[in-house]
Structures are given as structure tokens and as C-alpha cells.
């Protein structure tokens, strides 16, 4: 079935590259979204099965594929107003073809059961994402695209070195492939020094995609110039891909002697991510950049949760799921705000509540949700992380995290409240530059409603799937 999915995606992407009319391109994109839903349904009904030897529909893949399908559907709908009939056909052709490619590559990488195949597909996402980042063809877009390609390429090369070290350590074990399951079987017999080097390289390499310290800068620049629906997809689908790639290696090596070392590295990377995010958010002057730093902060928390273990594993996955819904809503909303105000610069923005009340309410709720203020579901996940830290007696990490989170809350809330209620600082003209339909906020409110619901009730199927994913991880 996955072969049919890839062939369909390829045909649609190739057709998109040749169409001249925007309407045709949009219909083709809708057709791809429909195929994505059908494939998602198939995967859901065949959980646990393996397809084409190299793809397994395991719980982690199924969960992230479901999230990707949701966000990509909303991204395609939210992306409609960014092109009109005056847009040059090459622009929307490249955009939609790359969007199709990006979604298909991420889908494949979620389901791949071989380390090398995941790596190939992650590499392929760099190409398609860079075309999407460059879609506005400005100098800023060129700068962000160059940095994205260059830093991601360095990251991908480092991740490949990690894979090579893994294979070096597996020499003589009789294993001829590099499947996650195979690696998990022999992990306890492998040379710990080689495994440590391999994990460090994989973590640094995939941190370009997960937007985690130290290679986080690439995602920040990309998000600040990409069209908001693309930013939403990069900050959720691609970030989740980076997380899943690291998690799969982490889980495979969890039976090895380096398990405790990996946890320390993850906690260190997490703390540094939250520190950098808090520092830069305090001086953020660009709305999309602020959201990108918020992604860095949340991924830092996810790394801390994973490194802490215990209930932290569950909290990490819950945080990733709810972050996906909240961050995509915020990017969609900031996109609409940019269309209404004509700018993303904080100093030139203000009085959004007056100009577009529906959007302003979505932005306010989105801010409360992402800052984990109750009744946001993220509150539950962050509370569980703190609980895990207390259970492990990691008081220094706990106190540091709490202080940094206070900085993040202060930085983000003052900026969003300025956007909603204040005069623009630089005396910009205050009238709506563009009319935005209220219907465009529907997906944002729906996603945020789910996030709020998760604060009070997490459905059993969600708990089951997370518990299946984290089953087998050593506990403290």
C-alpha cells in the first residue's frame, strides 16, 4: 500500500510541476490530501504490519502520521489565500509540488524501520523544505534558505557519521542491516564508546530537524521567513520527525550500558535549549521568530522529559502531540495577523483585537495554550515533567527549568498582549490591510479545543498508544 501512496504522491508532484492554472494546482493538492487521509486510514487499520520490508506501521509511526495528516490538511487550506491569479505559475507550481514531496517524505520517514532509510528520507525533506522556505523569493528568504540547506547538510552529514559509528560497533555481530529492532537486540553487546559517539552525532545531526540545541538556529531562520502554513508544517511535522528519529535510536540503545549517559546528554541539550529560547524570546521583535523560539523551548522540555524517564516518557509524548496542535494553530493565526496588519514586526503591530477580533481571540487562546496555562493540556504534560524531575530528585534541573519558563511566559505574554491591545510603537498606520474571513480560524479553534480538552480528559486510545510506544524503556 505504501508503494501506491508514494507513486500517487510522485505523480501528483510531477503533474503539479507542469500545471499553469492555480485552480488546477489547488484541486490536485486537495486530491493529495484525500490520498493522505486514505493512506492514514489504511495504516490505522493495519497497525503492527510491515510493508515493503522497510516500513512498519508501529504505534509511534501511526501516531505521528495522524498528526501530520491533520496539520497538513489545515496547512493546505490555510495556504490557499497566499496565492492568487496574479501569482506567477512557477511560484505556486514549485510550492505545491514541494509541499506534496515534503509531506510524502515525512510520512515515509515516520514509518521507516531502518536507520539508513530514515536518514535518506530526512535528507530528502531538506530539499523540499528549502524550496518552500524560498517561496517568497526575497533576500531574507534566500538567506534563510542558504542557511537551512547548509546547516541541515552539515547536520545530515553528522547524523550519517553517527550511523557509520553504529555500524562500526555492530561489526562482527552477524547483523547485516541497520534496523531499529536489530540494533535493540544487540545493543547490550556493543562497544559503549562507539555507541556514545554514535548517539552524540545522531542527536546533533537530527537536532537540525527537531529544532533542539545545538543546531536549532536553522529552524528559527526558516520559520521566520517561510509562509505561515509552511512554518506550521516545519514546526510540527518536521520537528516531530527529528524527535522520532532521535527517540527511535534512543529506544534501540536503551538496553545498552550508555542508557544513563544518553539521559544526561538529553537533559543537558534540553536545558540549553530552554535557556537559549528564553534568552532570545526576551528580545524577540518578530512574531514568527518568537513562535520558532517557543518551539525550541518546547523541544527542550521534551528532551528533559525523555532524559528524566519514568512518567517523563509519557509527558514527552503528550507534550509533542499537544504542541503540534497548538503551534500549528498559532502559525496559522499569525499568518492571518500578518495579512491584516501587513507586517510581522512587533514594533509595527498593535490593536489586533480591534481590527480582527476573531483572530485576536484565537491568538490569545493559542498563547495561553502554548504557555501551558490551565486549562491548556500542555499544563498536564509540563506538570508531569516537573513530577518526574521531583521523583528523580533532579532539583537543580527543576529549579532552572522553572526559572527559564517564567522568562518565557513573561516574554511571550507581554508581546502577544502588545499585539492585541497596544498602539504600534513606531506609529504605523492602523487599518486592516486585508480582509480575513472568520471561517479561516475554524481549524485553529478546533485544534485549540482539543488541547483544552486534553487538560481534563485524555482518551484511552491516546493513553494506550503512548504506553505502547514507551513500553520496554527502562524505568527509574
Amino acid at each position: 500500500m505504501i508503494a501506491i501512496y508514494f507513486v500517487s504522491a510522485l505523480i501528483i508532484a510531477m503533474t503539479l510541476l507542469t500545471v499553469r492554472r492555480l485552480a488546477v494546482a489547488r484541486w490536485l493538492m486537495m486530491l493529495f490530501v484525500l490520498i493522505q487521509w486514505l493512506f492514514n486510514g489504511y495504516v490505522l487499520m493495519h497497525t503492527g504490519e510491515t510493508d515493503l520490508t522497510y516500513f512498519t506501521y508501529d504505534p509511534a509511526g501511526v501516531l505521528f502520521l495522524g498528526l501530520l495528516t491533520l496539520v497538513s490538511t489545515a496547512a493546505v487550506i490555510q495556504g490557499l489565500p497566499y496565492f492568487n491569479h496574479q501569482t506567477r505559475s512557477t511560484h505556486f507550481r514549485h510550492f505545491y509540488a514541494s509541499l506534496t514531496g515534503l509531506i510524502a517524505f515525512i510520512t515515509g520517514a515516520y514509518l521507516a524501520n531502518e536507520i539508513t532509510l530514515v536518514w535518506i528520507l530526512v535528507e530528502a525533506t531538506t530539499l523540499t523544505a528549502s524550496v518552500l522556505i524560498y517561496s517568497e523569493r526575497t533576500t531574507h528568504a534566500l538567506e534563510a534558505t542558504w542557511k537551512y540547506i547548509f546547516i541541515c547538510s552539515v547536520g545530515i552529514a553528522l547524523a550519517y557519521m553517527g550511523i557509520l559509528f553504529l555500524s562500526l560497533s555492530m561489526k562482527g555481530t552477524g547483523m547485516h542491516g541497520l534496523s531499529f529492532a536489530g540494533l535493540a537486540k544487540v545493543a547490550h553487546t556493543l562497544d559503549p564508546v562507539y555507541l556514545k559517539i554514535a548517539f552524540a552525532f545522531v542527536l546533533v545531526g537530527y537536532s537540525t530537524k527537531m529544532e533542539l540545541f545545538p543546531m536549532h538556529t536553522v529552524g528559527i531562520d526558516a520559520n521566520s521567513v517561510a509562509l505561515p502554513p509552511v512554518g506550521a508544517l516545519i514546526s510540527t511535522g518536521l520537528v516531530n520527525l527529528g524527535f522520532l528519529s532521535i527517540f527511535r535510536v534512543y529506544k534501540a540503545l536503551s538496553g545498552s550500558p550508555i542508557f544513563s549517559w544518553m539521559n544526561h546528554v538529553l537533559i543537558l541539550a534540553g536545558i540549553l535549549s530552554v535557556l537559549v529560547a528564553a534568552g532570545y524570546m526576551l528580545k524577540a521583535k518578530h512574531t514568527k521568530r518568537m513562535l520558532a523560539y517557543s518551539t525550541l523551548e518546547n523541544m527542550g522540555l521534551v528532551a528533559i522529559a525523555l532524559g528524566t524517564g519514568g512518567i517523563g516518557y509519557y509527558a514527552a509524548f503528550l507534550l509533542v502531540i499537544l504542541h503540534t496542535l497548538t503551534k500549528s494553530s498559532l502559525f496559522f493565526q499569525v499568518g492571518q495577523m500578518g495579512r491584516v496588519l501587513g507586517t510581522y514586526k512587533l514594533d509595527d503591530s498593535g490593536f489586533y483585537l480591534k481590527l480582527f477580533p476573531t483572530g485576536a481571540i484565537a491568538l490569545l487562546f493559542g498563547m495561553l495554550a502554548i504557555l501551558a496555562i490551565p486549562p491548556s493540556g500542555l499544563f498536564v504534560s509540563e506538570f508531569l515533567i516537573m513530577k518526574a524531575l521531583v521523583a528523580r530528585n533532579s532539583w537543580v534541573v527543576l529549579i532552572l527549568t522553572l526559572i527559564l519558563l517564567c522568562c518565557v511566559i513573561y516574554a511571550m505574554s507581554t508581546r502577544v498582549l502588545h499585539l492585541l491591545f497596544s498602539h504600534p510603537r513606531e506609529g504605523a498606520d492602523l487599518h486592516a490591510q486585508c480582509r480575513v474571513g472568520k471561517w479561516e480560524t475554524v481549524s485553529q479553534f478546533l485544534f485549540l479545543l482539543v488541547v483544552v480538552g486534553a487538560c481534563f480528559y485524555q482518551p484511552p486510545f491516546l493513553q494506550d498508544i503512548i504506553n505502547q510506544i514507551i513500553a520496554g524503556l527502562p524505568n527509574y
Partner: protein, 209 residues
Amino acid sequence: MFYLLIVLFAGTLVYISTSERFRSYAKLIAVQGVLLFAIALMELKTLDLGNLIFVSAETLIFKSIVVPYFLFRIINTTKVYKVHPKAFPSFYSLLFSMVGLIISIILSDVLKNPSLDAVFLMIALFTLYTGVLLIITHRRIFSHMIGFLVVENAVFFFSLAVGSEMPMLINIGILLDIFVSVLIIGVLMNRIGTQFSDLESNNLTSLKH
């Protein structure tokens, strides 16, 4: 013979980290391609003919002819021939390079493994170090790209180390090399080179805060 080639390769790395002319960079990348071809042929005797042809084509045609050709084209188009006047002085680069060589020798001894030649590991680590050093200490984008191509050569060395048991990994490494090199050189030639004629990384710092 094998050790002679490794020493020659190390020599190109020291030269590349102290050189200031872009034309020298392009020539050294070509020389490294030829040396890698020879080393790969000696190391991968057990590979089947198909894989051997693939490796040879990548090193001899792509690394030592195609990539240097495009590097020369970029130099001729942008007319930027040297590193930035305020670049890291060559003497310090040489010192850093020597420190890197010593670190690589020590690390390769620490990491030595019965299934891996320590000399191989040493040269791979030194290549990686030199590439990263070029990216960090230089200000012009062209030097960054050369740094990346050197990092790619380090990846190639590492993949040779496991090549006889897992030839698929070499092929994937080669595909990475071709894919990313084409992507980076393409963007540099078609976009960055025309928009920012002096190829300075300072031109690419408008995205802040």
C-alpha cells in the same frame, strides 16, 4: 603505498587549512578526489564490480572533475579570488591544524577497534576537524562550502571503514555527497553568487531577533 596516500591526504588537509586562494582550494579538492579514488580502490578489494564502478565514478569523476569545475566557475563568475582580508591568519590556522592532527592521533588510539585500522580513523577524524575548522574560522561563503566538501570527504573515509561489510552504506554516502554538493553549489552559483557578489557571510546576517 596505502600509508603514503594517507600521508599525502593529510598534507592536502594542512595545505587547505593554511591556503588563502580560492583557486588553490578548488585544486586541492580535485587532488583529494584522486587520492580518495586510489585509497578506495585499495581498501575495497572485496567489493563486487558494480559497487566498485560506482565508487570510482564518484571519486574520480564527481569529486575530482565535476565539483572542481563548478568551483572554478563560481570563482570566475564572482571574481572573488581570496579569503577575506580580515580572515584568520595562516600561521594560526597552521597551528590549529597541527593541534587537530595531534588530537586525531590521540583519539584514534583511544577509539581503536580490532575491526578498524587506527590510521583510517585518524585521517577521517583529522579530515572532519579540518572541514569544521574551515567553516568556523572563515568569513566567506565559498570557504564554508569548501569546508563542507572536506566534511563530506571525512564521511567518505568513515564509510570506507565499514564498506566491505555493508556496501550499501558506501552507496548511500556517495549519494549524500552528490545530492548535497549539487544542491549547495547550485544555490551558491545561481542565487547567492548573483545576489551577493562578494560572497561574504556578513551579507547573510539580516535575520536576527
